[in-house]
């Protein structure tokens, strides 16, 4: 038996294959470009804290090493 013919009935047409590839590419493009975050429900999660400004206290007295 020719094993190449075993799945003949399941094969898709060459033209359909390219249609599917094209559709997949468009879907991937849309998926990466659409700003889904706009639809996301705002919630008070810890990650959403506003950016924090780090500043040393001007009145503190520093040491230059841990030995004094």
């Amino acid at each position: 038996m020719n094993s190449n013919n075993s799945g003949e009935k399941n094969k898709i047409k060459r033209r359909n294959f390219f249609y599917y590839i094209g559709a997949a590419a468009v879907t991937a493009l849309v998926a990466t470009k659409v700003p889904f975050s706009l639809f996301k429900k705002e919630k008070d999660s810890p990650q959403r804290t506003s950016s924090i400004k780090v500043k040393e206290n001007p009145y503190a007295v520093k040491r230059s090493s841990n030995n004094g």
Binding site: N10, A28, P46, Q47, I52, N57, Y59, A60, K62, N66
Partner: protein
């Protein structure tokens, strides 16, 4: 576990205590001792079930080759699309205007004070580019001398806690709080206070222990504006019993500081001075100084008598288990022995003393409680022989009357000679009495209190439920809570005012005579928070506009007028101020009246012998080395730190003895109901060797209902069992009823994780290979090589393993890094574990992952018991990567991600690792940790990826991601820092300039690190010490961590 347990030893028999055997039967847990099938299974399954479940083809869905390829392609496309939006890690941008004090890549250090408890230890905070990244002890501080406890080490995470309050909140109904402004809040609170003041209603400020003289002055100033204001202070883990007993003994409030480093004999009575009792850091240092095999000084001898099993008990030379309520009787019997029988001390002629002591007898006591007669007799001999060098330590939780009896015993045996004459323990503001708190609550209930301000305190969680404080709070018109995180008290408040973290705040602290400890902010406030003292200052002067500098100026002015003149310095104030901030310490010449003096026995007749032992269950409400009184509940590192005794993480539990478990028909993970009077609480059970029978030991601080997302609902609130007028003490109840409850609850202990005997070659290795090596101090004095000779004898029996090295040895002529750990000094406190986690960006993984053996801490402290479950002797051994010269992990890595450096380090290239875990499998020490997930992402809804927590990261250490193996690096970043300095200065690298994070943290000075080839270095001395050994050295992997064998200062057991 077999509840009959007759094959191990007779229940309740203490006679086996401290029996010396040549071949200790080491066991790590009861599961191992009783050959629990679960443990055997776990030993043979290193990575857990989930990691090794084989693929069952039959259970797979039928899938055509084409469909498989299609799905694979779709997955690849989706993955590619997903990668386009990979987690935004932000931009790295240079400073537009670099702050003067910042040099990129170079850390700054600031001296400050820890406010995690009332000890007020000095801290040294390391900042990088303005961000505090590590808290260590201040080496210049006379109390903690550069060391810090687990909580102090982990406190850094609290600054960056994403759930910190960021804005003031308000609610008229004391629920569903909404954001408000500081101005609005101030205006309304001032109005409420003014109104209360004018209508004769009380304004109550409730704070914790006040250690700040400036804050005390601020209270005084506030009282001038609001005469109706009263200050209350409380502490869950307080010193009230000790202080009240001292007042009764000597008539003085100031208490002595004990020079434990000069003690030869220490008797600890339910005292955990090496663990959870107050001042543990200083006592650990002092105790370790008496266990130094290097200095040739005589070892001290530590006796521990306790109902619970504490870290101190585990480190004791002799340990006796005794019901806690019988301890006072033991002290009275000892007093009888010395005063009546041996005619010691001047009290022999004091009829007040002799008449009380006459009814006690030590021999009868020994028989009654089935104690080891020889041990008790040795104790009595030691106390007698070492007059003036022996000291009795009573535990914080013991009753006032027991403390009084112990004070008297110390007078009799000369323990009072160990009271320091240099410095004394002072209090700035005494804690409120039960009567005062009771009166406050009554006033609240009757509408006589107009305003309550919780000043960084949480009485709704801490106060006994007898007060019914939360209900009383509802009757107060205006309740204000000043806090960093929401808590049970803020939940029933009108105003929740967010306050600075300790690293953002100013302060001065005084706990001893002779010096002040200074607190300075190392970072400007991250959020719209205010210093709690500044809030009070603003309430006192509402007309003044708030500035961040306000309390700084107040503090400075107070120093300039009240303290500086007494400092006797020729420097101007400004220079002095800068100098004390730089040092973190201000020494003053002051001499208070001596704390010691005539001992008053007036109170004796009505006072001693008050605690009568019963036969019911005793409940001990314990401290802990993790959450403290609950204020650290939201700290993941502390939640995940194994309890030093039980090794349980993420929970508290009721620990019971093996016999008690058998009597109640319960086992670990069962539930029990504990009832004291009309209060009942349900706890999961942990069967703990060494506990006295009918003693239930539970940790306080757990069971928070309102806190951040990490700690909420973790554990059970044992504090609800506390009574406001307890018969013995707030933390000891001997009238408890205990019964088995329905259901189970799984507790997770790390003790059986990473077992090192999982394969036939190394099976039962701890019995045969001397992982733990121990001996008696007397033997060491006679023959310093006695353990080495013993080891050599054993090695001869180890063929065929005992072969030549398989590889050519490198001579390591340059620097050769190594570590030594002195098991005589190590108490197993866990400070090193937390310090390592902070330094090396180790994530919190959560209880479920710990259960699956996936904890990530690079150091674990192994606990080995020997002896019987009733009277175990414990050995504690920090275990970390041994940086073996012939590391078996290196030659199995298929991608050479773990390799050996020329200076002897076993290194990891994280971005080369593909996560085969072969290295971990081949590591005989089981010290490698695998990132099964991106744990920062996986734990608690990406909690650890919050913006603020990323500021916590040490920039010198790679943040590891999923699929990567990691392990101890010997703090490679610190070695590189020294290397950089050496290059800049044109000199050779010096090993003694490098210290690892664990070494810096260790309060017992048990860890040494350096270059083995550096002449005259400490590490070289340790490596060549007669007691030095390597764990599993017989398997020829040539580890580079030298362990100094443990010596027990015990008498020889005669057959």
């Amino acid at each position: 576990m077999d509840n009959n347990r007759t094959d191990i030893n007779e229940p309740g028999n203490n006679a086996g205590e401290n029996t010396e055997t040549k071949d200790p039967n080491y066991w790590r847990s009861l599961k191992e001792l009783y050959n629990d099938p679960e443990f055997i299974k776990a030993k043979n399954n290193e990575f857990g079930d989930e990691a090794s479940t084989p693929m069952d083809v039959n259970k797979m869905t039928g899938l055509s080759r084409r469909r498989f390829i299609a799905l694979l392609s779709a997955s690849a496309a989706l993955a590619a699309a997903g990668c386009a939006n990979y987690r935004d890690k932000g931009l790295v941008v240079p400073y537009n205007q670099k702050p003067e004090e910042v040099i990129l890549g170079i850390p700054n250090f600031y001296a400050s004070t820890c406010t995690g408890c009332s000890a007020a230890c000095g801290t040294l905070i390391k900042t990088r580019e303005g961000r505090p990244i590590k808290v260590d002890g201040n080496p210049d501080h006379p109390v903690n001398k550069g060391k810090l406890c687990t909580r102090g080490q982990a406190s850094i995470i609290n600054l960056y806690d994403p759930t910190r309050l960021k804005e003031p909140l308000y609610s008229a109904e004391k629920k569903n709080h909404l954001q408000t402004t500081w101005d609005e809040a101030y205006k309304n609170i001032v109005n409420a206070m003014t109104s209360a003041n004018s209508s004769g209603k009380e304004i109550a400020v409730i704070a914790g222990t006040i250690t700040s003289p400036a804050l005390k002055k601020l209270f005084d100033d506030l009282k001038l504006v609001y005469p109706a204001l009263k200050v209350y202070s409380y502490e869950l883990f307080n010193n009230n019993a000790r202080r009240n007993a001292w007042i009764k003994s000597t008539g003085k409030r100031i208490m002595p500081v004990i020079q434990l480093d000069k003690a030869k004999i220490i008797l600890a009575l339910e005292s955990d001075f090496l663990g959870n009792d107050e001042n543990a850091i200083e006592y650990t240092r002092m105790f370790s100084e008496t266990r130094n095999v290097m200095d040739g000084k005589e070892f001290s001898r530590l006796y521990s008598v306790e109902g619970a099993i504490s870290l101190t008990g585990m480190n004791a030379d002799y340990r006796l288990r005794l019901r806690t309520d019988a301890i006072e009787e033991l002290v009275m019997c000892l007093l009888n022995e010395f005063v009546i029988k041996k005619k010691k001390s001047d009290f022999t002629s004091d009829s007040k003393v002799t008449s009380v002591l006459g009814s006690y007898d030590l021999d009868k006591f020994i028989a009654k409680y089935n104690l080891n007669t020889k041990t008790v007799k040795t104790l009595v001999e030691d106390l007698e022989k070492n007059e003036g060098k022996a000291f009795v330590m009573a535990g914080d939780k013991l009753a006032e009357s027991t403390h009084f009896a112990v004070n008297l015993l110390n007078e009799v045996i000369g323990g009072n000679k160990l009271y320091s004459t240099e410095t004394e323990d002072v209090e700035i503001l005494p804690l409120s009495t039960t009567e005062e708190i009771d009166a406050l609550v009554n006033n609240m209930n009757s509408g006589k209190v107009g305003v309550v301000i919780h000043l960084d305190s949480n009485p709704a969680f801490h106060f006994s439920t007898d007060y019914n404080y939360t209900e009383a709070l509802k009757k107060v018109q205006t309740v204000v809570t000043c806090t960093e995180l929401i808590n049970e008290s803020s939940d029933t408040s009108n105003y929740i005012l967010p306050i600075h973290n300790q690293l953002e705040a100013w302060g001065d602290h005084k706990t001893r005579t002779g010096f002040y400890s200074m607190q300075q902010p190392v970072i400007s406030p991250l959020y719209n928070t205010r210093q709690k003292e500044a809030i009070l200052l603003n309430l006192a002067k509402p007309a003044e506009q708030y500035t961040e500098k306000q309390y700084h100026d107040y503090l400075m002015k107070n120093w300039q007028t009240a303290i500086y003149p007494g400092m006797g310095t020729l420097l101007g104030f400004s220079k002095t101020w800068n100098s004390i901030l730089h040092d973190g310490i201000a020494y003053v010449s002051e001499k208070s009246a001596p704390t010691t003096g005539t001992f008053s026995t007036d109170a004796l007749a009505s006072y001693t012998g008050k605690v009568k032992a019963g036969s019911d269950f005793i409940v001990l409400l314990q401290g802990n080395n993790t959450l403290g009184d609950g204020r650290f509940a939201n700290n993941g590192w502390l939640m995940e730190l194994p309890n030093p005794v039980t090794k349980i993480v993420w929970d508290n539990y009721a620990a019971v003895s093996v016999q008690t478990a058998a009597d109640l028909g319960i086992n670990s993970n069962d539930l029990i109901d504990v009832t004291i009077g009309n209060k009942k609480q349900t706890f999961p059970v942990f069967v703990q060797p060494g506990l006295a029978d009918k003693v239930i030991e539970v940790s306080l601080g757990y069971g928070r209902t309102v806190c951040g997302i990490v700690g909420q609902g973790i554990g059970v609130n044992a504090g609800m069992l506390m009574a406001k007028n307890p018969a013995i003490s707030e933390r000891i109840y001997n009238n408890a009823q205990v019964s088995k409850a329905s259901g189970t609850y799984e507790l997770i202990s790390t003790q059986e994780h990473q077992p090192i005997d999982e394969n036939p070659l190394t099976k039962d290795i701890q019995y045969r290979r001397g992982i733990i090596r121990e001996g008696r101090y007397e033997e060491f004095k006679k023959n310093k090589n006695f353990l080495k000779e013993e080891l050599d004898k054993e090695r001869r029996d180890l063929t065929p393993i005992n072969k030549e090295h398989p590889y050519q040895e490198s001579d390591y002529k340059g620097v050769k890094w190594g570590m030594s750990i002195d098991l005589n000094k190590c108490t197993g406190c866990g400070s090193c574990v937390v310090a390592c986690s902070v330094e090396n960006n180790i994530p919190v993984v959560g209880k479920e992952q710990v259960k699956a053996n996936r904890e990530m801490m690079w150091i674990r402290i192994d606990r080995y018991y020997s002896g019987t479950p009733d009277s175990p002797k414990a050995n504690l051994q920090p275990m970390l990567c041994q940086h073996c010269d012939f590391a078996p992990c290196e030659n199995v890595c298929p991608v050479a991600a773990t390799t050996h450096s020329s200076d002897g380090l076993n290194s990891m290239a994280y971005n080369r690792c593909v996560g085969t875990r072969y290295c971990s499998n081949n590591c005989p020490y089981k010290v490698r940790r695998f990132n099964y997930f991106d744990f920062r992402d996986h734990f608690n809804d990406s909690f650890q990826y919050a913006d603020s927590l990323s500021l916590l990261m040490n920039p010198e250490v790679t943040v590891r991601s999923r699929g990567v193996m990691e392990k101890c690096s010997f703090c490679l970043q610190r070695i590189m820092f020294e290397r950089q300095n050496a290059i800049e200065q044109g000199r050779a690298i010096k090993g003694s300039n490098v210290s690892t994070a664990c070494q810096d943290a260790c309060p017992a000075y048990a860890i040494n690190f350096g270059d083995y080839n550096e002449e005259g270095s400490e590490i070289k001395k340790w490596r060549n010490h007669e007691l030095g050994y390597y764990v599993l050295e017989e398997i020829k992997v040539k580890p580079n961590v030298t362990y100094i064998a443990k010596l027990r200062n015990t008498e020889e057991e005669k057959a």
